[in-house]
């Protein structure tokens, strides 16, 4: 019986393929974030775009916000619905024995992986650039809910990192080095596996 070799699959934040999803004044590229796509494709990764939770919840004309502003029961329930929508596809990849990674958006209140934005006192009308917020080492709310849904399904944690687009001052060269380091380190590591099925 023939087994197909495992594929490398990158789950990527919606806005890394579509910068139109970004909050007002937050888009750094017209559409596709090409350094991320190039880094992944050149290493043989398939791409799987995740839904954008903020767009579908607060709309495309939303203000920017911090973790605490999105940390509400309604927003978490919305993220849980999105997680339930994409989880079957992720589960399918994992059960086929594929090697998955997750690329989020560091600094984002929703899609941050290593870092999110925080300011418990924020509220009311934004006042950029005077507003000040902190970058704290924590998942964004969407990533928290997505990982919780995968855990509920008995799936292993997926190695993850973030493209550092929402960290305040964007350094593309630094973000690229960081991502490439993560990807190259993965080459020698084992991937999370669940009971594989024969394809």
């Amino acid at each position: 019986m023939e087994h197909n070799p495992p594929r490398k699959v990158a789950l990527i934040a919606s806005c890394l393929l579509n910068q139109n999803a970004k909050v007002c004044q937050g888009a750094n590229y017209p559409g596709v974030v090409s350094p991320v796509v190039e880094a992944l494709r050149s290493r043989g990764y398939l791409l799987q775009q995740l839904p954008c939770p903020e767009l579908a919840f607060a709309g495309v004309r939303r203000w920017w916000a911090v973790y605490e502003q999105y940390d509400t029961p309604a927003y978490r329930a919305h993220c849980q619905r999105l997680a339930q929508a994409i989880a079957p596809l992720i589960e399918q990849y994992l059960r086929q024995g594929d090697d998955l990674i997750l690329i989020g958006l560091d600094g984002s209140p929703s899609t941050g992986v290593r870092f999110t934005s925080s300011q418990p006192e924020w509220g009311g009308r934004p006042n950029r650039p005077e507003d000040d917020w902190k970058i704290v080492p924590r998942r964004g709310i969407w990533i928290e809910e997505l990982e919780a849904e995968l855990a509920r399904r008995g799936l292993p944690p997926i190695p993850a990192t973030g493209w550092a687009l929402d960290m305040g001052r964007f350094d593309e060269a630094g973000a690229r080095r960081d991502l490439e380091q993560f990807l190259d380190d993965r080459q020698s590591n084992t991937s999370p596996r669940v009971d594989p099925v024969v394809r």
Binding site: Q19, A21, C24, Q25, A27, N28, Q48
Partner: protein
């Protein structure tokens, strides 16, 4: 939107065009590269199968974009089920959300990939919303 680089254009794209099968008998153009060159973002559709909830989530996003001045198109592939676009189901979901079906461009899998790429690039470059809609939203 000062200091914002968004292109205000995006395409619904089948999984097959984002992740082309390695054993494809007829190569298709590199759609991601063409979209990037034409300042389009991507809304990736799932591969064939039951993805009802995910398609509903995608339809929600298309509705939000379409109601706020973004130009949305769909790129399919001739000769595969639903052109890879889940078209009938997606059409129903979009109609439920009061969204007109986006213009659709179909790639011909048996044609020359280079020529198909040029045809796609022309389609993308030529499409936009009416000027009044652009002026209303894109400030």
């Amino acid at each position: 939107m000062s200091g914002d680089a968004r292109g205000w254009h995006m395409a619904l794209v089948p999984d097959r065009l984002i992740n082309p099968p390695k054993d494809a008998s007829a190569p298709l153009p590199d759609v991601l590269r063409i979209l990037e060159a034409n300042r389009y973002g991507v809304l990736q559709l799932p591969p064939a199968g039951e993805h009802g909830l995910l398609l509903a989530v995608i339809a929600d996003q298309v509705a939000e974009y379409s109601h706020h001045g973004y130009a949305v198109v769909a790129i399919g592939v001739q000769g595969i089920p639903s052109q890879g676009l889940h078209w009938r189901r997606l059409a129903r979901l979009l109609q439920q959300r009061g969204v007109a079906l986006p213009p659709r461009h179909l790639l011909r899998s048996r044609a020359d990939a280079g020529a198909e790429g040029e045809r796609l690039a022309t389609f993308l470059a030529d499409y936009d919303l009416p000027v009044e809609e652009q002026r209303r939203w894109r400030v």
